[in-house]
Amino acid sequence: MRELSLNILDIAQNSITANASLITIEISENTVEHTLLIGIYDNGKGMSEEQVKSVIDPFFTTRTTRKVGMGIPLFKMAAEQTGGSLEIESELGVGTQIRAIFKTDSVDFTPLGDVASTIQMLITMNTDRDFVYKHKVDEKEFVCDTRELKAILGDVPLDTYEVSQWILEFIKENTEVLYK
């Protein structure tokens, strides 16, 4: 993947497949310690210990579970090649939490890329789910919660074109401010 935002889009699809109704995406960057945390947390159907092991290993998974494949291994590789790590916590019937730590000063660090576009797409293509996007850079934080947006919009759907464009700009502008 050319940007980590694409990995986020990909991993979040697993949460949707797992029937999660609430998906939280957390990005937290520490510019002093040069670390970046990407977390994807859901309340989907969860995985057994055996399944958790299998999603990490691409060769073990391909033939056993069709729903999982290269997504997690690619994300794990992106983290580990910077000197970071990836961990998965999951419980059947409760949900799954995936956390990847990146060292941003590594030459092998893949840029975050267009996160706003990823979040916009997740929100507008899955209007029946809720998303919380938390982006933190040192002490500054931006949070976008679709439950809050839905409360304002009432009957107007999140995938209305004007709304969708607003969401993209809202996320883009508020995220850029974090880095200023």
């Binding site: 993947m1 694409l6 990909d10 990823t118 107007v156 709304v163 607003w166 502008e173």
Partner: protein, 120 residues
């Protein structure tokens, strides 16, 4: 800077315009973009965005743009299927955002599939 107050204004404006929501039932044209790991890695995100933009720009009714998982030909990603009731499904391969306008214009609006973008 975009604020939630602005979203409220958009809502008000949209409610004014919104009559009964279009019935995109049986005769709707569906544009389906493969968004599994293979599709995303090959560049499906800008392709999907381009379809949403083009359909909105032309104000096309009865056209839905959605996503699906792996279609099964990962080497040809990004793959887009255009499904129209009563007609054969058309599968576009190695799509890019630049090709989208032509597919929307020739195929979705005028009913002529863009053969050169399909599987050979």
């Amino acid at each position: 800077m975009k604020t939630l107050a602005e979203l409220m204004a958009i809502k008000e404006a949209t409610v004014q315009k919104m009559t009964v929501r279009e019935d995109t039932g049986d005769d709707a044209i569906r544009v389906v973009v493969g968004m599994a790991t293979c599709g995303i890695a090959a560049g499906a995100r800008p392709v999907l965005n381009a379809f949403v933009d083009e359909v909105a720009k032309r104000n096309l009714k009865g056209v839905t743009v959605s996503q699906t998982g792996c279609i099964g030909m990962c080497q040809y990603e990004p793959i887009v299927e255009v499904i129209q009731p009563g007609k054969d499904k058309v599968t576009y391969v190695k799509m890019t955002a630049d090709k989208v306008a032509k597919v929307v214009n020739d195929h979705i609006v005028n009913g002529n599939p863009v053969v050169e973008y399909t599987v050979k």
